[in-house]
């Protein structure tokens, strides 16, 4: 076990630190915080890219090749960085002295404000608690078990990123979903041979989110203390706290959007060079990092194209404003080459990483299904561009807001008329901080930026507000977490504007953060269950023992065979299932080292041969199903033969049964 943990820690430290050291050499163009964010984004991009190469081209996406490929890439990058900067010792020395200086600066800023210290302590306690719960409990959320983790399982069992047969509706969605984020989930399983921390994957993104919010705030001339205070506030969003330890991807999507916007701000700020957070400006580095973040975002969720179109449109408008003199010269001297100075670097440094990291999933869908966003139909002005199975989103609107107008819907959701918070909160989730403090701050800061013609403020605000406005499900709070960041930045601006007299708003913010801290305990993880799980060995801390209320009513009849699978199915063994299960994820063992295969539809002529061809070890079936009756008959006949001939082996050996399900082991019988 310690070998796998060491391997996991080593590859992560090498990967992220090599990118950080590389970016350190670009410190004249990128600020310290942005280099931290950049190394996370580039590290993530490397993880996704190496998994795509191994999974798609070489079809050997296993722990060994993935480890060595990343070690090779990161070592090469590190060697190249240190070699190209004559003195490697002084580079490393500078890296550490800068880190030391920044940590001391952070400590000084924190010490200067008690409220900031209290807010940070609340954040740190909650983070520790989330990590503890994430480690102790298996992934228990609906979509994680339904498709996020089965995607990981499918890739791990084949060592390749393949299309699966469309046996059930969920298989279609598993095939067509963009999978960048699932590749990151896989990264957190494959070395450890356990899924115990994969549900903490989004923790990285909330850290990036806090850093990004701070970085945007500082670029918009908000003081360091206010920027720090406001960036901590985004953590105190109920849907964020509840989603950090789930295999959902909504925090990641919002944070990647904010990250892209943060790096694009260098372009916006370069209009007015005095606002840049660095001495020099080499547009290619921040532009490239924005492209990488947007590329990961594009390949992470079906809404990626919408976000990408908005980011690209904003960039084009910005470029036109910047180069308006070259496009529409008043005198011949102003005429320049717009294509060379703007469009080529823009295409090279932004669009290229965007396409490389995000477009594969859509191109594949286009080739295989004739529609990049299959199964959704795409039509403009009643003209169908891409045919699909569905014209609308599959989830119907909740009846409570079905007949409400646009703004009433938002008001309903933001006032949170629900009895509890949930990780996928549909009608709540942004919390009191957003509605009471950040929303009026946003209005205030927006009006002020219009009045004072603060274009950088307007660039960030308009981009995020337009993204929010055109999102077809903007009343689903988990899809619009980025708005909380915009509200937090606005609040930072309000704090600065009111100065000392604004202290009372900081107290209000702290009280609301503390309220959120106290009221977002997941009802899926009750204290008695935590106590019970603390006494259990890791192997027994399964979803079937957890019985979380969010799935319990649907899943209680499945617990028996889930528990049997997690207890007995070993690495390399294959479980065949004969019906559409409630969730696919529990059909694998904890480390996804076993295999699953659908063994249907039943055919009594060659069903057994199919099972043998697929090296099936166990068959999961419904009691009294066709397969069950057939096996019963066959076993009885075989038992007769066995008794007559005195042989020991039978073909099917029942290893689990309850009222609803059976698992039989396939044992090779000797030919008579």
């Amino acid at each position: 076990m310690w070998v796998t943990i060491t391997q996991y820690i080593f590859v992560n430290v090498l990967l992220f630190s090599s990118w950080y050291i590389y970016l350190f050499t670009k410190r004249a163009s990128i600020s310290f915080i942005d280099r931290l964010i950049g190394s996370c984004v580039l590290g993530l991009a490397q993880i996704i890219a190496t998994e795509l190469v191994l999974g798609l081209i070489f079809r050997m996406l296993y722990a060994g090749p993935l480890f060595w490929l990343n070690v090779f890439m990161s070592s090469t990058l590190l060697a190249f960085t240190l070699w190209s900067n004559n003195s490697s010792t002084s580079t490393m020395g500078n890296v550490f002295s800068e880190l030391n200086e920044k940590v001391c600066g952070f400590y000084r800023t924190m010490r200067s404000d008690t409220l900031l210290v209290v807010l940070f302590i609340l954040l740190a306690i909650k983070t520790c608690w989330i990590v503890f719960i994430g480690y102790l409990f298996p992934s228990y959320t609906w979509d994680s078990l339904y498709y996020h983790l089965p995607i990981v399982g499918n890739i791990m069992q084949s060592g390749a990123i393949l299309e699966n047969p469309d046996n059930f509706q969920i298989d279609t969605f598993i095939n067509i979903f963009p999978k960048n984020m699932e590749l990151f989930f896989l990264w957190n399983v494959i070395f450890l041979k356990s899924s115990s921390i994969t549900d903490l994957s989004q923790l990285l993104f909330i850290i990036i989110g806090i850093l990004t919010t701070y970085s945007i705030a500082v670029k918009l001339h908000i003081g360091a203390k206010s920027a720090l205070f406001s960036s901590f506030l985004i953590f105190f969003t109920p849907v964020v706290i509840l989603q950090i330890n789930t295999n959902y991807i909504d925090i990641a999507v919002s944070v990647l959007l904010l990250t892209a916007v943060n790096f694009l701000l260098y372009e916006s700020l370069s209009i007015d060079n005095s606002s840049l957070p660095v001495e020099g400006h080499n547009r290619k580095y921040p532009l490239f990092l924005a492209g990488v973040a947007a590329g990961i975002l594009l390949g992470s969720k079906g809404s990626g194209p919408l976000f990408t179109i908005i980011i690209v449109s904003a960039l084009i408008v910005q470029e036109i404003i910047k180069h308006r003199k070259q496009i529409y010269p008043r005198d011949p001297g102003e005429k320049g080459n717009f294509m060379r100075s703007s469009m080529i670097p823009y295409t090279l440094y932004f669009i290229l990483p965007l396409i490389v990291l995000g477009s594969y999933w859509y191109i594949k869908n286009w080739v295989l299904y004739g529609n990049p966003v299959y199964p959704m139909e795409v039509s403009v002005f009643n003209i169908t561009i891409f045919k699909g199975l569905y014209k609308k989103m599959l989830d119907p609107l909740p009846s409570l807001i079905e007949n409400s107008s646009y703004f009433i819907r938002l008001f309903h959701v933001w006032t949170e008329k629900t009895e509890f918070y949930l990780y996928d909160s549909r009608l709540s989730g942004l919390g009191p901080l957003w509605f009471i403090l950040l929303l009026p701050s946003l209005v205030f800061a927006l009006l002020r930026s219009i009045r004072n013609k603060e274009y950088n403020w307007l660039f960030v605000s308009i981009l995020l507000i337009v993204t929010f406005a055109v999102h077809p499900r903007n009343w689903t709070t988990r899809y619009t977490i980025f708005m909380v960041a915009l509200g937090a930045i606005s609040y930072g601006s309000v704090m600065d504007f009111f100065g000392k007299k604004g202290r009372i708003t900081s107290i209000i913010a702290l009280v609301l953060a503390a309220y959120t801290f106290l009221t977002v305990n997941s009802l899926c993880v009750m204290p008695a269950k935590i106590r019970e799980f603390m006494d259990l060995p890791a192997k027994e801390r399964t979803i079937a023992r957890h019985k979380p209320f969010n799935i319990d009513i649907h899943a209680r009849q499945e617990y028996g065979y889930w528990m049997w699978i997690s207890n007995y199915i070993r690495e390399g063994e294959t479980l065949a299932y004969t019906f559409e299960p409630l969730f696919l994820a529990p059909l694998w063992n904890d480390g996804f080292s076993s295999k699953t295969v659908y063994a249907g539809p039943f055919n009594n002529h060659d069903w057994l041969r199919k099972l043998k061809d697929r090296n099936v070890t166990y068959v999961l079936l419904r009691t009294h199903s066709e397969e069950d009756i057939w096996i019963e008959k066959k076993s009885r006949a075989l038992t007769g033969i066995v008794e007559e001939s005195g042989r020991q082996q039978v073909e099917f050996q029942m290893v689990f049964s309850d009222d609803n399900y059976k698992i039989v082991k396939l044992v090779k019988a000797e030919k008579s």
């Binding site: 009191p432 509605f435 009026p440 009111f498 009802l523």
Partner: protein, 54 residues
């Protein structure tokens, strides 16, 4: 009106808005249910924690 006075009025307006929104948010009937559920959670936490310590 001086800039400082304008700032005072804006500050007052901001605080009044925050208070109104706070009243709107916390007087929603479901708020008491969230608090009740969470109090239940903390009560169970306290019992479990004390049990753990002993």
């Amino acid at each position: 009106m001086t800039e400082e006075q304008k700032k005072d009025y804006l500050y007052l307006l901001f605080i009044i808005t925050v208070i109104i929104l706070a009243v709107l948010y916390f007087t929603v009937p479901e708020r008491s249910m969230i608090i009740e559920n969470q109090m239940q959670w903390w009560k169970e936490f306290k019992e479990t924690f004390l049990g753990f310590l002993s």
